[in-house]
């Protein structure tokens, strides 16, 4: 341990008066930043959710005026309350962008990562607190820019979250704003990921060897590497698209394009597929960025509520590492139908099949962790448990997409939409809910209501499946995605058209099912049951700090004595043996000088 800080630390908490702005707004404290990230992320999730509700309404009742709100949105979007296709495309592109880049990742990485990770490794803060603040504000700016893009002439970006050129290059000015917003968001992610990696490597307390890290820390650590190395290519691509739009270059524009009868004035020579390569070079790792923190949360909650160690901790760690590595060389499975030859498609199909194996290993380990447990079904656990089969459905339906021949039929249909929503919505979002219920007491000192929690969980589970299961049926029938009218004019969509209403009503049901959560979230701030530092009787180091943790987190620098999940150790009085507690059976002072003691994992 750094000798110099042990003294400054244990003395006292030197209370510099920071004032309101420095404490709550421009704070450098990882916990405040984490909460800022989480609240902003949740707000954007809510916003993305609202966009989706508009889309879903349109899909179920195409061409009909919107009740109530229809007229409010203005003639450029809904003349007479009837949605324009341009506006539908804006909603789609922005729903995807906001959910991925402004909702889930900021909540999962910025929120949970920032708040929990330093606590779990016993650190006083992140390695670079000011960089951390810069990262949040860059994200915030990116969010503001994206939000404002709805109000520029021509509206927000409308070329899909994938922004494929040439469509995106010839699109209205909203696309330029989208690109600028992305540059802010990418900057934020890069700053954040450097910070996370350094924090994990450098600030682990004594005794916390890599194989003793909680799985959540592993998942964030690996996620940070994905962000660090995969985002820059998209940044480069965003610059190039900006150049194409602003400086009239033709990185992505071949010669001889004719748009609405007019020859496009560009020098030509560019390749539209270059964008797709660079985009998916990020976006495939990005989908693991969406899932890994979720897996981390689920692992923590499952270990805690089965009251036993995770089964196969080591194989989970190795799988995550392998998965991260592989995720850099599968991206072109999104591009099978862009005219790829046999050799390259065989390569990308093979890597895609290979990458599914570590996911199977992880999900298996989590499932088998339940075996022999003494399972408590509290709200975080319910969400974590539901995550497993939901991720299972999402992951399994990824397999046919990974086979190029099957992808011929399934590509760009609702099957794909169903595939990834199962992983991100009842998957990741459920895991994030689990995390919120689980760490809320740490952040606020109060528990959320179990009753409202269950009232949130069961309807959510039902409606999520009501939305996304029919998508597979529509997809198999061949219904394309991104259809403004849900496919009413197509003959092949006819037999499955009625499902649109089922899905839309489920989506509105899902919205209502979130009310208990919102009420619970705010009500518990004042009314929740007060708890001590370790309400779940958990073993990882964050539960040593008071709830909520003060500035600097720990009164004394903790030491990690053992592996993270020592629950139900035979021969002990209580069923949990925290990482930060010295050995109970041995009297006398602990022996911290043994960081390499063999980790006991199954």
């Amino acid at each position: 341990m750094g000798e110099n800080h042990e003294t400054t630390h244990s003395e006292e908490h030197h209370h510099q008066e920071l004032g309101f702005w420095r404490t709550y707004v421009f704070s450098v404290d990882h916990k405040v930043i984490g909460i800022q990230y989480a609240v902003t992320g949740l707000s954007f999730l809510f916003f993305g959710f609202c966009l989706m509700l508009l889309m879903r309404w349109q899909l179920a009742y195409p061409g009909e005026p919107f009740p109530l709100i229809g007229k409010l949105l203005g003639d450029s979007r809904m003349p007479g309350g009837i949605m324009l296709p341009e506006f539908y495309n804006q909603l789609g592109a922005m729903h995807g962008t906001i959910m991925v880049f402004l909702g889930v990742v900021p909540l999962a990485v910025g929120g949970f990562g920032n708040f929990v990770l330093p606590l779990q490794i016993g650190a006083p803060d992140m390695a670079f607190p000011r960089l951390n603040m810069a990262s949040y504000w860059s994200y915030f700016l990116g969010g503001v820019v994206m939000f404002l893009s709805f109000f520029v002439p021509g509206g927000a970006a409308q070329s899909g979250w994938t922004s494929y050129p040439p469509l995106s290059v010839i699109a209205e000015s909203g696309q330029t704003v989208w690109l600028l917003g992305m540059v802010f968001l990418i900057t934020s992610s890069l700053l954040g990921s450097v910070n996370f990696i350094v924090t994990v490597i450098q600030l682990r307390v004594e005794g916390l060897t890599f194989m003793r890290l909680p799985f959540f820390v592993w998942s964030q650590f690996v996620t940070a590497f994905l962000l660090l190395l995969a985002f820059p290519p998209l940044e480069a691509a965003a610059f190039m698209q900006l150049m194409d739009r602003v400086a009239n270059t033709s990185f992505f524009m071949p010669a001889g394009l004719v748009v609405s009868g007019q020859l496009v004035e560009v020098s030509g020579g560019g390749s539209p597929l270059l964008w797709q390569h660079l985009f998916w070079f990020l976006a495939h790792p990005e989908v693991y960025v969406l899932i890994l923190p979720a897996l981390g949360i689920v692992a923590e909650v499952i270990a805690n509520n089965t009251r036993k160690p995770l089964w196969g901790y080591k194989s989970m760690v190795y799988s995550v590492l392998f998965l991260a590595f592989m995720s850099f060389i599968v991206w072109a499975h999104h591009m099978f139908l862009t005219g790829m030859g046999t050799v390259m498609s065989a390569f990308f199909q093979t890597t895609t099949m290979i990458i599914s194996i570590p996911s199977v290993v992880i999900i298996t380990a989590l499932l088998l962790s339940l075996w022999g447990g003494s399972i408590r079904f509290n709200t975080p656990m319910l969400f974590a448990l539901a995550f497993l089969p939901m991720f299972g459905i999402g992951g399994l339906t990824g397999l046919p997409l990974g086979l190029a021949a099957a992808d011929i039929h399934l590509h760009d249909t609702y099957y794909v939409i169903g595939h990834f929503h199962y992983v991100v919505a009842p998957g990741t979002i459920f895991a994030l809910f689990a995390g919120i219920y689980y760490w809320y007491p740490k952040a606020t000192g109060r528990k959320m209501s179990e009753f409202l929690g269950k009232l949130h969980f069961w309807p959510s589970l039902l409606f999520m499946n009501g939305i996304f299961l029919p998508m597979f049926i529509q997809g198999l029938a061949g219904v394309q995605r991104r259809l403004f009218d849900g496919g009413v004019s197509y003959a092949h969509a006819e037999p499955v058209l009625f499902l649109n209403k089922v899905m839309t009503h489920s989506a509105w049901g899902l919205a209502i099912a979130q009310l208990p959560f919102v009420i619970n979230f705010f009500l518990s701030l004042k009314r929740g049951e007060k708890v001590g530092s370790n309400p779940w009787q958990a073993t990882t180091i964050e539960w040593l700090a008071p709830s909520p943790p003060p500035h600097g987190n720990f009164a004394n620098v903790p030491v990690a004595y053992r592996t993270p999940y020592e629950y139900s150790v035979p021969g002990q009085a209580s069923d949990y043996h925290p990482q930060f507690e010295p050995d109970r059976r041995v009297a006398g002072p602990p022996d911290p000088g043994e960081p390499e003691a063999a980790p006991a994992t199954a």
Partner: protein, 198 residues
């Protein structure tokens, strides 16, 4: 409180690193991917084009050679400024760091001359894919140069006060700034032949 964070200055025994250096290297790793993607764009566009102009038929090779020399020299003065700090010789540090900043200014001036010559001949990014990638790559590199210059100027001027209060931390900062600066140099070492000579 940032003072409370371990290993900002001293080295963590089991990793052998302090936070700043590790952070800088990670940042550089992401930079490698940034320029890597642009190079990938370059290769793809070049392989896919029927007639790619020879760089020296459009660009000014002598000026660029001069700029290469300037940039390499600035890299040496940069590393020398750091070595001077290790030798506890602050005056030499000032001298070398000052030289580094001056050389950067020279680089930017030459770059400006190059750019304006292009514009005078009505050669813009929109003229051809070659010029598009030329302007994009050199402009992005130029932004890095400007960023590096700002940091170096700060460490030469107001930032140098730290030498008296926390010499070790200051030396670390100069080392990290140096890493960044050498990287900028390294990128140019590849840009130069790729754009001008091939």
């Amino acid at each position: 409180m940032s003072e409370a964070i371990p290993y900002t200055v001293d080295i963590r025994p089991d990793t052998g690193l302090n936070n700043v250096k590790l952070g800088m290297w990670l940042f550089l790793a992401s930079e490698v991917m940034l320029f890597g993607a642009l190079f990938a764009g370059y290769i793809l566009l070049r392989v896919g084009s029927e007639d790619w102009p020879a760089g020296n038929s459009i660009l000014n090779v002598p000026l660029a050679t001069l700029n290469t020399i300037v940039l390499i020299t600035s890299s040496v003065t940069m590393v020398m400024s750091w070595a001077s700090l290790l030798r506890k010789s602050f005056d030499k540090y000032r001298l070398y760091m000052g030289a580094t900043v001056l050389l950067v200014v020279v680089f930017l001036v030459i770059k400006t001359i190059e750019y304006s010559a292009k514009f005078d001949h009505h050669l813009y990014p929109s003229t051809s894919t070659f010029l598009a990638i030329y302007f994009t790559l050199t402009a992005l590199h130029g932004l890095h140069v400007i960023g590096g210059m700002a940091v170096n100027a700060y460490l030469w001027g107001p930032g140098a006060k730290m030498w008296r209060s926390a010499p070790e931390q200051f030396t670390n900062r100069v080392e990290a700034a140096g890493l960044f600066w050498h990287f900028v140099d390294l990128v140019w070492i590849f840009l130069f032949p790729v754009l001008y000579l091939l």
